[in-house]
Structure formats: structure tokens, C-alpha cells
Amino acid sequence: MESSDDIESRLSRLGSRGLIDTTQFVRIIIQSLYSLGFNRAASSLESESGVRLDSAQHDRLLFDVMSGRWESCVSTINSIPGIDSSSLINASYLIWKEHFFELIGSGCFLPAIEVLWKQISPLGVDSCRVHRLAQYLVCYEAMGQTGSMGSTVQRRISLFLDLVEVLPPYIRVPSGRLEKLVETAVLKQRSSCQYHNLPKDITLFEDHKCWPEQIPSTCSQVLLEHKNEVWFVQFSHNGRYLASSSSDCTAIIWTVEDDDMVVYKHCLMGHEKPISFLSWSPDDTMLITCGNGETSKLWDVKTSTLLATFSDPKRRIISSCAWFPSSDKVLCASSEPDNRIFTCDLAGNVLDAWEGERIPKISDLAISSDGRLVIGICSEKTIWLCEFPQGKEKVIREERSITSLSLSRDGQFFIVNLNSEEIHLRKLDVNIGDGVDAVFKGHRQGKYVIRSCFGGSGCSFVASGSEDSKIYIWRRKCESPIKVLMGHSMIVNSVTWNPARPHMLASASDDHTVRIWMAGCNPQPSKKLGESLIS
């Protein structure tokens, strides 16, 4: 057994910068060994290193408290080096209060009054507390609720625990201290990791670092089925289907296979005008497509048949629509000749409508995932938030025109693309202020409707198309893009991130193609319909 002199000969400071005091380090190791249950290891570490888990004052204080020697408690506390006066007062107050209660409990009122008078009031604590203690003198029953929580031993133990909270931490190492320190370090590494996309087990053996390949970076497939510009693309909520719509007046549903290949399923034909917008039902069984200046159609996904056409006797143009979470009602916004927001069921019957002079022209509409908040983009520059069905409203004005809107999957945030080549991120709440939570820049946008989306695990990334045929990906905390994907030859109209597979991204472009981007995999040639090209 090495003698305890050896602790002197060891380094007194650890770590590359000499920040860690060896004695403190050993104490927290001993404490975590005790808490894990390795009592023998802990006590042999104590004797080997000569460092005791609990300081001398701790043991003395424990002894004094348990035996009720209050005077020596106070003198022990006073002898603690480096204690500041407010902790001293709080600790003394706790000790004398316990003494006071015990005296009352045993019926010695005169000594109790003396304690109150001589020891507690000179401390200078909050006078209401002192007065309440005086009240207990008079009303013994009131004290019965607060004072006698169990036997004397239990009360003294809880007094000791309270004391330890008030005194400086080196008297007694806070429980779970080592675990807390390690956890803080790991969390800090994880949050500063730029490309953290695929959830990975945290290992303590090396610093956590994600590589740029963990977000979608290579084009694995190019889908060529559309015959004209592809304007909109979106994954279903369960990530198993992809829908794309094009100015060739068709929409195509694709299946996402288990090996991450995207396969053509069916083409939805029937529109006479280019399809500008489509929306998956929350249960992914139905799809609504909106023609540009034309009626909307409802399709069944499994059988790819047309279920209903939302036509209108007044031939109104439906500019956008949003599903309610129950998948049985749809909220639509229409314009020309008059602006109208209406709810309709799956057969096209109008259930409820807001119309009139005051209703503005709504270009984009969305419903939060719990169905309680409706967001609309009115007159291109205003964001309108409204609690549904009737409730508080909030109107936020933007400086420049808003071209598109997208919600995050957890329903907490939304992003809007502006004409001024910025994307603004805001919190989805009727009670927020007007300030923007985050701004993302770097992409190009001027004339066309460019759409963006949230994505990645935990929705921590934002991706957007751009007029310079590139796809930009940002981390939510940072204004500049962390990744730019090149491959399309014309403007990228819309991007969508697979909600179930955070390593997969799809983009739609005017070059008639839909491209699938994967994280960290090599593009593979395939001989299926819609052969993929290695770009």
C-alpha cells in the first residue's frame, strides 16, 4: 500500500491545460464508484490515494447534527474556509430553526423563545420567516403539519441534506457529478456538429464528429419520366412514396423501395393545365393535385384512381389547399373572381366558407399538424396565422414578396421564401412577436416560385431550390449554406427531404428531371424504367 505522502509527489493538476485539480478529480471518481455500488473499490481508492470523499468538516457536521449539538454545528460552519456570509446566515438559520422546533416539540417553550430571541433574530434573515416561527410558539397545532415529519432522526437527516445544499459544494460532492460533466461534454459536441444528420450512438471513446457525407450529397438517381418542367415534388408523410407534378399536366407517384431506389408507380392524368401544387393527406392514402388556374382533383394513392374533382359552378381557381389532420376535410383557398377560403369534404361539398370583401388573396395555405393553426400567405407580403376554427389571429408583414411556405414536421416552425433571396424562419405561434428567428441566404431567386423544405433528423436542416440550378442546404443555426448540390441544368423549383429516411432528398427542376440525392453512397447504374445516369 502506498502511503498517503505519494499524493504530494503526484501531479497536483491534470489535463493538458492544468485546469483540473487532482484532489477534486479523485473525489468525484470515488463518489461515482460509491454511487455505482463498488464500495470496496471506492474505499480502497480512498486509502490508496489518501483523498477522502467527504471532507473533515462534513463528518464533524454530520456528527453534530445527528447528536443535536447545535452550538458546535454553528462553530463548524463558521470554521469552513471560504464560506460567504449569506450562506453562513442561511445555514445558521436552518440549524437554529431545527433546534427551535425540537424545543417546541418537547414542550420547552421558554428555551425556544430564548433561541428565537438570541440566535435567530440577530441573523438578519427575512423578518416574515421569523414572525412565522413566532406564530408557531402560539399555535402548536400549525407546527404539527410542518414540524414533525417523522421522528427526530429523520428530521435531522433532512436538516443535514438541506444544510449541504446551502454550504459550498466542496463540503460534499454533489451526487452524479461525474456523469453530469461527461454528459455536458457529449451534448456540446453533438450540438456543435455541423452535419449531424443520421442519429448515431454516442461513444465516449472519441469526439463526436459527423462528416459532410452524412447529409445528402451525391445524386443516386435521375428520374426522366416527365415530359416537361417538373414544378413540385414531395415525399409522403411516411416516406414511402414520392409525388411529382409537372407542366406536362400530369403527376407521377413513385414508390421508395427498401433499398432506397425510387421506382415509377403510376401516372395521374386528367388535368388540362400544368399542375402547380399537390398535397398528401396526413394518412398518405390520398393526394390532391391543383392545376394552375384550374380545378383540383382528388386521387387515391394505392389504386391511382381519380376519386373526385373539386369543381365549382363559379369556376373559381383554387390556388392551394391543405389537409386537416383527420384526413377527411380539406381547407382550400381560391381566387378570381372573388377571394374565398373554404373547407370542403372529400366529395367536394363545401362545408364552411369565409368570403367577402375583406378576404385577401391567399397564395399558399398550410395547417399545423395538430389542426389548430392555419397559416396563409395573403397578398404576397403578409403572413396570416389564425387559430382554427375561431380564435386569435396574428398578421406579420414581410418587407418583400413571399413566394412559398413550408412547415416543419413537428409543427413548431415554418419557413417562407422571399423574393429578395432570403428564407425566413419563424416560430409557429399566434403569440409570437414580429421578429424573425433565422434568416438563410445564398440561393438565387427572383422571378419564379422556388420552394424549400425542412429536413434531416430532428428537422435541423433547411434545403431550398434556386434559380441557378443548384440546391442549397443550411443548418438551422447558420445563415450561410453548409452544402451546395450541383447536377441539375436548369432552375430547381422544389426540394423535399424524406421524413422517414433522413439520408434521402429529392429535387424537381425545369430540366424535366427529378433527382434523388443520397448521403455518402456511390451512385449505381440501374436498368429500370427511368434509367439513372451517373452525373
Partner: protein, 110 residues
């Protein structure tokens, strides 16, 4: 080319592009009706929408040297007029940042 983002103007009186009928300028943004453009009479307007701008050029107009950008309708690419970027004469400074809209290329609605 993509889904064009077209702004629509409220208000009863607007000017629309004669070819493709998208909104171009609100009537109440007119500053002066006495201008002449390349194709005849023109307006000086504060604000136009749904346009794309051409490159900056130095041109000698009736009122002197100016730096202008031609403006085109973003939908049908028709030349609608120009924007004054910089005027070199002090008396012409009021035109900077404003647009000239050719009467022959737009039609008034309302």
C-alpha cells in the same frame, strides 16, 4: 420556365401588360403623364411589378445623359419601358429610382 411568381395588384385601377395581361403597375403610382418613350407617350411611375431588368446602359435622352435599365414583362418578355438608375443633371435627379412605362405597351384597367 418554372412557375412564374406573379404579383397581383389590388386597387381598382391597374395597368396590365398588353400582351399577356399580367399586372404591371398601379394607377395611383403615376408621377407624371407627360413623358415620351420610344413608342410614343409614356408615364413616369413610382412602382412596377412583375418585371425583369436588363443591363445598365448610359443613354442620351431628350433631357440629357442618364444611366438606365430596360424593363421587360417577366411573363412575355415584352419591352415595357425603362428604369432611371442615375441622372447626371441636377434638374433630372427626381427621376432616379422611378420607371417609365410606355403607353403603347400597357393597357389601363378600371
Amino acid at each position: 420556365m418554372g412557375l412564374l411568381f406573379l404579383q397581383s395588384l389590388p386597387g381598382p385601377k391597374v395597368f396590365k401588360c398588353r400582351c399577356c395581361k399580367v399586372d404591371s403597375a398601379p394607377h395611383d403610382a403615376i408621377v407624371s403623364k407627360n413623358f415620351s418613350g420610344r413608342y410614343g407617350p409614356a408615364y413616369l411611375i413610382n412602382r412596377v411589378v412583375n418585371i425583369t431588368m436588363g443591363p445598365s446602359e448610359d443613354r442620351h435622352l431628350m433631357t440629357g445623359w442618364h444611366t438606365v435599365n430596360d424593363i421587360f414583362c417577366s411573363c412575355c418578355q415584352q419591352l415595357l419601358g425603362w428604369k432611371y438608375e442615375k441622372a447626371y443633371d441636377d434638374s433630372q435627379k427626381y427621376k432616379e429610382g422611378r420607371f417609365v412605362l410606355e403607353k403603347a405597351r400597357v393597357m389601363k384597367i378600371g
